[in-house]
Symmetry: C2
Subunit: 220 residues, 2 copies
DNA sequence: TAGATTGTTAATCGATTAACAATC
DNA sequence: TAGATTGTTAATCGATTAACAATC
């Protein structure tokens, strides 16, 4: 008898998603080293996570392995790439051509993963017209038109927190799919617009907490 | 009768620590707005976390509130600052004077939180001698001496992954306390050296996953 | 005092780990 | 076939939420 349930895509937890890029990186390295197959047991040793977790994680997406054999490295690498959406290109723009914005524009690794740097914007007249890795810095007023005309999916936001909110509204209205947020504020977006925060100072604070904790537990 | 137990500092989970910087930010804003007191209920509304979690989180560190009143904003802000180690300065250096390294050096917000940019290093002769926000780029060979002589706690690592491992060994031997790792590798350090990873491409991949997921669940 | 709101215990939920039958 | 290792169910652990007595 046929299964009539709408085979409902069970929601994958963000905890699992958060681990995928790391699996992807390790598998890429294994592949580059010419390794053909690997067991959850051995991957566990290298990555310092339990073999059980590895198998659970992969099985969220269906069976990638084979009993008695393990996982084919090349195949698994490609599958995880597809899950992460790395089998197609993603156009992105950078908003804010300050130090951080320009640094991101110059970062070549993103290109190799299919994240294509298409435009960069600023409101400072002195910056407009200059180039970042061959891409002209545009006036922020051109933002909407550019995003629409160039099939931009992702906007990296490296503007001061004061202007973040306004820019985000404009991006959302223009139909951006995702915001990579480096501004130190929580963004308010409708569901359907993905946000990934990179709060550098938060991460420094965690470091500082852990330094302190260790010193208290030991030194004294 | 006196409690004889060594009042053992119960380990605080990293989940809690990870939320502290955000509390700190909201409380700072409330304070700047002249708000004197706040209840877990109201903070819950603003921050979109449960009031229960807020109270649990704060109570990991002892009672900061008062029944029937709530929390004093200024006091709580300061206490969380202390917990995060923001009541003293932390000297840091940047290793790798590429785009990202220079961008971090120019980022002023860190200074205001007590993270002081003291030095920046590179192995590229063409960069050595130039300045980043008034700080001279030094030859990487001077690293050990500088770290020792200038009471450096944190090293931000913005070098290619190939050189990361070697640099980390040198830093560890020199007695660095923490590494803020922007290189796309997992670092191997002895316990007692804190590591905080900022893997930008991982975060882009998560974004890409979520874009894909949303498109699959809806558009089609 | 009455009302408000914490601190804290108990209940629930979700994520990780262990175990093992299925199967290559 | 025997050995290896997955896929998956069950057990455990930890984190979040709910509830409420303590107390300001």
């Amino acid at each position: 008898m046929e299964e009539r349930e709408e085979k409902e895509e069970k929601e994958i937890s963000q905890a699992v998603i958060g681990r995928l890029p790391r699996y992807f990186r390790y598998l890429g390295e294994l592949r580059d080293d010419g390794v053909e197959r690997i067991s959850s047991q051995e991957l566990s040793g290298r990555m310092k996570v339990t073999a059980s977790q590895i198998r659970q994680d992969f099985n969220n997406f269906g069976g990638f392995g084979q009993q008695g054999y393990g996982y084919n490295v090349e195949y698994l690498y490609n599958e995880i790439g597809k899950i992460l959406g790395l089998d197609r290109n993603h156009n992105f723009v950078i908003i804010g051509a300050g130090n951080l914005g320009r640094a991101l524009g110059n970062y070549l690794n993103f290109e190799s993963r299919g994240f294509l740097f298409k435009g960069i914007f600023d409101c400072d007249e002195r910056l407009v017209g200059r180039e970042v890795r061959g891409v002209k810095i545009r006036d922020i007023r051109e933002l909407e038109a550019f995003v629409r005309d160039n099939d931009i999916e992702i906007a990296a936001l490296t503007v001061p927190k004061a202007s973040a909110e306004e820019i985000v509204e404009r991006l959302v209205r223009t139909g951006i799919r995702a915001i990579w947020n480096f501004a130190h504020v929580d963004l308010n977006v409708p569901e359907g617009v993905q946000v990934e925060n990179v709060h550098l100072s938060d991460s420094l604070m965690k470091l500082s907490y852990n330094i302190n904790r260790y010193m208290k537990e030991n030194d004294r």
